[in-house]
């Protein structure tokens, strides 16, 4: 069980699918960002589980996982700053109502 690749890949698929559902049906910007984090975690888990089998010495996958984590941090920083600006400017974060540009 703990050594079978299928369980890791199934878990990462569940994380990615749940993140997709959240991005599609939730309209709160913060919750959409949380769902994007779930997707990124699923991708990293998938990459590292596959890395057990293909990479020589298991090193390259870890390096790329470090890059993914750093990029996720950068993305979250910018997205949170934008969400905070949206809060201050429009007083709401419903994605359905933020439908005009140049505000």
């Amino acid at each position: 069980m703990a050594g079978s690749l299928f369980s890791y890949l199934l878990l990462s698929l569940i994380l990615i699918s749940l993140g997709l559902v959240g991005v599609f049906i939730r309209r709160n910007l913060v919750i959409m960002l949380i769902c994007i984090e779930l997707i990124l975690n699923g991708v990293t888990l998938n990459l590292l589980a596959i890395n057990k089998f293909v990479a020589d010495g298991h090193t390259l996958g870890q390096v790329i996982a470090i890059f993914i984590i750093a990029l996720a941090a950068a993305e979250t920083t910018i997205a949170l700053a934008l969400i905070f600006l949206t809060f201050k400017h429009y007083k709401e974060i419903d994605a359905e109502k933020l439908n005009e540009l140049k505000g």
């Binding site: 050594g3 939730r26 984090e37 590292l48 990479a55 870890q62 905070f84 600006l85």
Partner: protein
């Protein structure tokens, strides 16, 4: 055998708290459920034998990103939770699309990877090799990533401090 039990517990915690992170109604609960899920994903990395990535996951995701999200939720003015009308058509389309995605990739995984096994906990790529690769072969991407982080920090400060 014992590791299997721990593995199943971690697996269920990740899946259930991911469900909670998507479907709960108040953003602070979603953020906490996401932190729980991500923390348990670090446990999965321990099972795979990548302790360094697990530590990094806890430090960066749970320690920085979750806290930043919770900060933004707490700093923002209270949004009145209006009884919202749910557009049932959009919800159905979103759920159907994600379910189709799940089914297609589940069939693929079941066909290709159902029997693949590895020994848990063996770590061939140690932290020394990872650092060596970051300093030699991956030096240029590493510098680019650090530059991106710097730009992201400055951009976040510039965006959030702007008076309008």
């Amino acid at each position: 055998m014992f590791s299997d039990i721990v593995f199943i517990i971690f697996w269920l915690i990740i899946a259930l708290s991911a469900v909670l992170a998507v479907f709960l109604q108040k953003p602070i609960y979603n953020a906490l459920a996401m932190a729980c899920s991500i923390f348990s994903v670090a446990g999965m990395y321990i099972f795979l034998g990548y302790e360094f990535i697990a530590a990094l996951q806890v430090l960066v995701y749970v320690g920085a990103i979750s806290v930043a999200i919770i900060f933004v939720i707490m700093l923002s003015p209270p949004v009145t939770v209006q009884p919202k009308k749910i557009n049932i058509y959009k919800v159905l389309v979103g759920v159907a699309t994600s379910f189709a995605f799940f089914i297609v990739f589940f069939a693929l995984l079941y066909a290709k990877y159902f029997d693949a096994k590895f020994t848990i906990g063996e770590a061939k790529g140690t932290i020394m090799q990872v650092g060596y690769m970051l300093a030699t072969k991956m030096a240029v991407p590493f510098e680019i990533i650090s530059f991106i982080l710097l730009v992201a920090i400055m951009g976040a400060i510039v965006l959030a401090k702007r008076e309008d």
